[in-house]
């Protein structure tokens, strides 16, 4: 059998980076589907891009700057209005562990 472009373990790792709690079935399915998509997109490797500049943006503009002027903020009530959990003035989440930035 041909080696998959992205195996189960890699899918797990990418799911972790993506903060998606996928079930085993999804992981297996994504391994198959993402592998076939990756196989397809690798056709770009047929191209010689040694003379091509990476194009992140098509726009001919730069330096879009704003004056340092105060604009109205939403205020606490509106800021929290869509919060799934909150108290008087804060968003609330289960306790965060100090320094634990990545999974």
């Amino acid at each position: 059998m041909q080696q998959k472009k992205i195996d189960i373990e890699q899918v797990r790792q990418v799911a972790k980076l993506s903060r998606l709690d996928l079930n085993e079935e999804e992981i297996a399915q994504f391994s198959v589907q993402l592998s076939s998509i990756l196989e397809y997109v690798e056709k770009i490797n047929q191209l010689d891009t040694s003379k091509a500049e990476p194009l992140a943006h098509c726009l001919p503009i730069n330096n879009c700057l704003r004056a340092d002027e105060v604009r109205p903020s939403l205020g606490t009530e509106k800021t929290l209005s869509n919060a799934p959990d909150r108290d008087e003035q804060f968003f609330i989440v289960p306790k965060i562990l100090e320094g634990d930035i990545t999974l």
């Binding site: 397809y40 997109v41 770009i44 891009t49 091509a52 990476p54 799934p84 289960p94």
Partner: protein, 490 residues
Amino acid sequence: MNNDLLKFDCIQLRDKIASREIKSVDAVNAVFTQIERCDSKIGAFLSTFKEQSLQRAADIDAKIGKGEKAGVLAGVPVAVKDNMCTTFGATTCGSKLLEKFYSPYNATVIDKLLAADAVIVGKTNLDEFAMGSSTENSGLKKTFNPWDLTRVPGGSSGGSAAALAGQMCFASLGSDTGGSIRQPASFCGLVGMKPTYGRVSRYGLVAYGSSLDQIGPFAKNAADCALMLNVIAGHDEKDSTSVDEKTASLKDFLAGIEKPFDGLKIAIVPQLFEGADSEVVNAVKAAIEVYKKSGAQVIEIEMPYFEYAIAAYYLIATAEASSNLARYDGVHYGYRSAKAKDYIEVYTKSRAEALGTEVKRRIMLGTYALSSGYYDAYYLKALKVRSLIRGDFTAAFQKADCIMMPTSPSTAFKVGEKTADPLQMYLSDIYTIAVNLAGVPAVSIPCGFDSKNLPIGLQVIGSAFDEDKLLKIARMFESTTNFHKKIPQL
């Protein structure tokens, strides 16, 4: 109630409201009668605002009655895709995750529509976060094609297309990242335009692929499309990527639209016709013949990098999406899983439970393309290919005023036909995607029907900021054909 007025186009209706021949309230009532009659079958709308719309219409009628100056869309009922933020109703983006999200601000295009005195009657269904080509990826509801209710309306702006094709508004707004306005316009027999990247403000448009996303109109004809573009185009200081007057002067897209395009030069890419259904190819070729008859010159060109667009697109768009959608984490707004035991599970479970499979798939693909060890091979390589693709367009526009090709390789497909194989669904965007990568404008116009009486779209692609040319070219075709006037029987 006189539902005959639904047959008017935007400009006709606007003029009749302005001359007080028709009341905006009557137009709004006619639209809601139609929505109540048809939308349970079509499923175009995620939310409608009947009371507010009638109130607003009455206010506009009163304003006109007093002889006050009214906006260019005064009293005209329009619909917007539900990925544009509004302070009225929810802004769901077709996702369970945002089902109860109420935006505290309006997207710039919404403010512009309101300033033009349009009446926004509702917000329309879409593929979740605009990811899809059939609107089947909506997390909230199904939408069907008014021409054949067993078929998809196209996507991702399927709701906006179906709402207009179903006579449930007079014009609508969609967004186009890889064809999401043009392809549904083609499937639903409408004029649909993706403006040049930077022409219309993205402020308040829920981002999918930020360097590709652009808002544009669905309209019954080219002139209506020009009118809508006049309303929404222009520099916005809240969007750094919207172009200022110095870079591209703002034109009146409606003025001069009736004046034929003298000496029009059309480029076609013969190889590109090979991938499309024969009925589509025949209709597009026939359309090009119409232009020839009116004096246009047709030249054949090659665009060697065009076929790499889908590959580059699905790396760039998903990379951007994986980052753009990171904010949907159940902390500050949106869905939070009740099962989360710690703060990390707030992320992982909320996202897993509320996001649909296609969205997850694209987040995964984009995350992978950006992750360490793969960045150069996938994301960076795709950016380089993107510049080669843009080079193809630049070269083409040195030889011709526009490029013509089908909008989609097929007419509207059956619901469920392509959902099993995501790659096959992606490949159906072959004709539209390169345009977004190059940032240029393109319009899809109705150019025929297949044997199943399904609309076929002709795509006209122009050079950056040449929307005025494209609209003129579209209008030329309408002036000698009647495809755009046909409406589905409901």
